[in-house]
């Protein structure tokens, strides 16, 4: 019995040992050394800074005013975009005089703020004619902070006193303009001309070649054009992951492409590709502004677009900076320069000494929804049709495919069906925007994205975005000599135009408001009259 017991025991224990031994020896325990936190070397992009002397004449009611004017003119002459600005005024003033005054202000702001600070002002001569002072001054402009310079020279009271005032006034104005520029950018107000629209060649949809359009536009990411091929297989293109884009973006792009391809009455439709881009000079302005207020900034050369490298770069950047600042008070801004193939990140934290330009950056930003004004003019320049384009066709459910919800036709009462397969008047589709953190859900180069480690959503600024405008020529009675224009319109001007349009349909006696420049008054009246409630959903915008 005992020998049997021993035998039983050994037979039970043996299999147990057999099962357990592999567990003891197969410990593939990870060595921590394999996972050292190694950061990939990133290429830095540095901008050259210059000091430029410029001889200028300023005009003003006082000498001080004239000197200030000379200082501002100096910045303008350094930038050398005066002609460009004049052109802007001409173009924009054609919008039925609405916004002319505003644009004048914008130009002034634009003139006032450009890359840098006034370093010194030497008055060469002063003349007085018709109660106006003409000051000729030699102005030196530098990109670096002027404050230290002013402090250093404040000991030389006799010469410097007056100049310090001018310099400080100028720079105070610059600070105000930085706030103005920041508000315009981050709230998407469309108040400045930092972005522009470039219309491509029109074509009948029937004969439009999407492949060549793609290749022309995405020269730096031509691989993305593969997705428009008939034999394209997503699972092959993105076997483990996609390099240029991500699955969601590609699926959406293909869906848009298919919707455009499946549109009915193609022979009546023309397609006009267009691009919204940020102006080169503003690119530098915003780079300087963001650089000056950020805790850290770093550029990443993205020549061979690889999302994983980009992801790694951002991750390292955030990790480095998160340790330096309080999480709730930090905002990441990512600037994606598509043309020059680099991405620059700015880590901004809420410190008074560094950032008093735009405190709203550290709370929820109420984004406005920018609109476009579409206009057809005949060969004599007379307006045939105008429409506000409120949103691009970016979603495919019933609510968003209705043209009624996407455009506002002036002088027409559209009653269009909600149909994905038709373009009754016009529709705009976002397309060829492959970068996954860029959301082309409206006509803005700015959107927010998501980053789990950051309390406030990172903001993405794209240097350009692509769209196509599809137009039904029958509805608009489009002729060969007609011209089509597409321009940004501010939220306030959109209100005005809609209000004008709605009011023009009322009897004269019922009109109780004459347009002035007081936007607040206009808003109050709009609210009271409750005219445009149906559009408010579009104007409310989205918040992060």
């Amino acid at each position: 019995m005992s020998s049997l017991g021993k035998k039983c025991k050994s037979r039970i224990i043996f299999p147990l040992i057999f099962f357990l031994i592999p567990n003891f020896f197969s410990q593939s325990i990870y060595s921590k050394d394999n996972f050292q936190n190694q950061k990939s070397p990133l290429k830095e992009i540095k901008l050259n800074k210059k000091i430029i002397s410029s001889e200028n004449i300023g005009i003003g009611k006082t000498i001080q005013e004239a000197k200030l004017d000379a200082a501002l003119n100096a910045i303008t002459s350094v930038v050398g975009t005066y002609l460009d600005i004049k052109k802007e005024i001409n173009i924009n003033s054609s919008v039925n005089n609405i916004g002319v005054q505003r644009i004048k202000n914008i130009s002034q702001n634009y003139l006032e703020f450009n890359r840098g600070n006034i370093l010194s002002i030497d008055v060469l001569s002063v003349d007085q004619k018709n109660n106006l002072f003409y000051v000729k001054a030699l102005v030196r402009v530098i990109e670096e902070n002027i404050q230290e310079y002013v402090d250093e020279f404040s000991f030389e009271k006799r010469k410097i006193n007056l100049d310090i005032k001018t310099i400080r006034d100028t720079n105070k104005k610059l600070n105000n303009n930085i706030t103005y520029l920041m508000e315009d950018l981050f709230q998407r107000k469309n108040s400045t001309n930092y972005k522009y629209i470039k219309l491509g060649k029109e074509n009948f949809l029937e004969s439009f070649n999407y492949q060549s359009y793609c290749k022309e536009n995405l020269k730096n990411a031509i691989g993305f054009c593969e997705i428009f091929k008939q034999d394209f297989i997503l699972n092959d293109f993105c076997w483990l992951e996609c390099e240029i884009s991500d699955r969601e973006m590609i699926k959406k792009e293909i869906k848009t492409y298919n919707i455009i391809n499946d549109l009915k009455n193609k022979k009546d439709l023309i397609i006009i590709p267009f691009k919204i881009s940020i102006r080169n000079d503003y690119k530098e302005i915003y780079d300087n502004v963001l650089d000056s207020i950020s805790l850290d900034s770093k550029a990443f050369k993205n020549e061979k677009i690889n999302l994983l490298n980009f992801n790694n770069y951002i991750s390292n950047f955030v990790e480095d900076n998160n340790s330096k600042s309080y999480r709730k008070d930090s905002r990441l801004v990512i600037f994606n320069d598509i043309h020059n193939q680099y991405i620059k990140s700015y880590f901004i934290n809420n410190k008074k000494e560094r950032n008093n330009y735009y405190p709203d950056l550290f709370s929820e930003i109420k984004f406005k929804t920018p609109n476009l004004l579409f206009e057809i003019k005949d060969q004599f320049g007379k307006t045939k049709t105008r429409a506000l384009i409120l949103k691009p066709h970016f979603k495919f459910n019933t609510k968003y495919i209705c043209e009624n919800n996407l455009i506002y036709l002036l002088n027409k009462n559209p009653n269009t069906k909600c149909n994905n397969q038709e373009v009754k008047y016009l529709k705009v589709f976002p397309t060829l925007n492959h970068f996954p953190i860029s959301k082309t859900i409206d006509f803005s180069l700015l959107n927010n994205t998501y980053y789990q480690e950051l309390e406030l959503a990172p903001i993405v600024i794209n240097s350009e975005e692509n769209f196509v405008l599809i137009l039904n020529i029958n509805e608009f009675n489009l002729n060969m000599e007609d011209t089509i224009s597409l321009k940004f319109i501010s939220l306030e001007d959109s209100y005005k135009i809609i209000y004008e349009n709605e009011n023009s349909q009322l009897d004269f006696d019922q009109r109780d408001l004459k347009f002035g420049n007081d936007i607040e008054e206009l808003k109050i009246n709009l609210k009271r009259e409750n005219f445009i409630n149906k559009f408010l959903n579009f104007f409310k915008g989205e918040s992060q």
């Binding site: 099962f19 003891f24 410990q27 593939s28 325990i29 190694q38 490298n309 991750s315 998501y450 789990q452």
Partner: protein, 146 residues
């Protein structure tokens, strides 16, 4: 008695064949074939070598718990090798040399925090489960994905 012994033996062998977990919660002996879903390869190593032919990803098995380090050959679209690391948001226990003294066990913990993948190995007696003791082994593949 012999019948009882045979019955016990049968139970042992049968159980071993159908489910090794009956004996141990250690997944290291897992016998069944692992099915990896490529969509669950959500993490990349901290350092990426884009020139290397081999690509490493951290992938979850279909049960969404077992985490593997997987080497891929992207060009040929094949898995070269896979190595079991541990249980996501769980603890793996490896018995120490002293089978009786549980303090000698080695624990391996894996955590996901803010999209990052954290790894912690310790002797049970010295373990202190604080995130600062963990090492980051991987980061989220796409930071913008929710």
């Amino acid at each position: 008695m012999i019948k009882i012994y045979k019955f016990i033996k049968f139970i042992f062998i049968y159980s071993f064949l159908i489910n090794i977990q009956f004996f141990s919660y250690d997944r290291n002996l897992k016998a069944q074939e692992i099915i990896l879903n490529l969509d669950s390869c959500n993490w990349i190593p901290i350092k990426i070598n884009s020139k290397s032919k081999q690509t490493i990803r951290f992938c979850l098995a279909n049960n969404q718990k077992d985490l593997y380090e997987v080497k891929f050959n992207i060009k040929n679209k094949k898995i070269i090798s896979k190595r079991f690391i541990g249980l996501l948001n769980g603890t793996m226990v490896y018995k120490g040399n002293n089978l009786i003294d549980q303090n000698q066990d080695t624990l391996i913990k894996l955590k996901r925090n803010n999209g990052k993948l954290f790894f912690y190995k310790c002797k049970r007696v010295d373990c202190y489960d604080n995130l600062s003791n963990y090492k980051i082994i991987g980061i989220k593949k796409y930071f913008w994905k929710i």
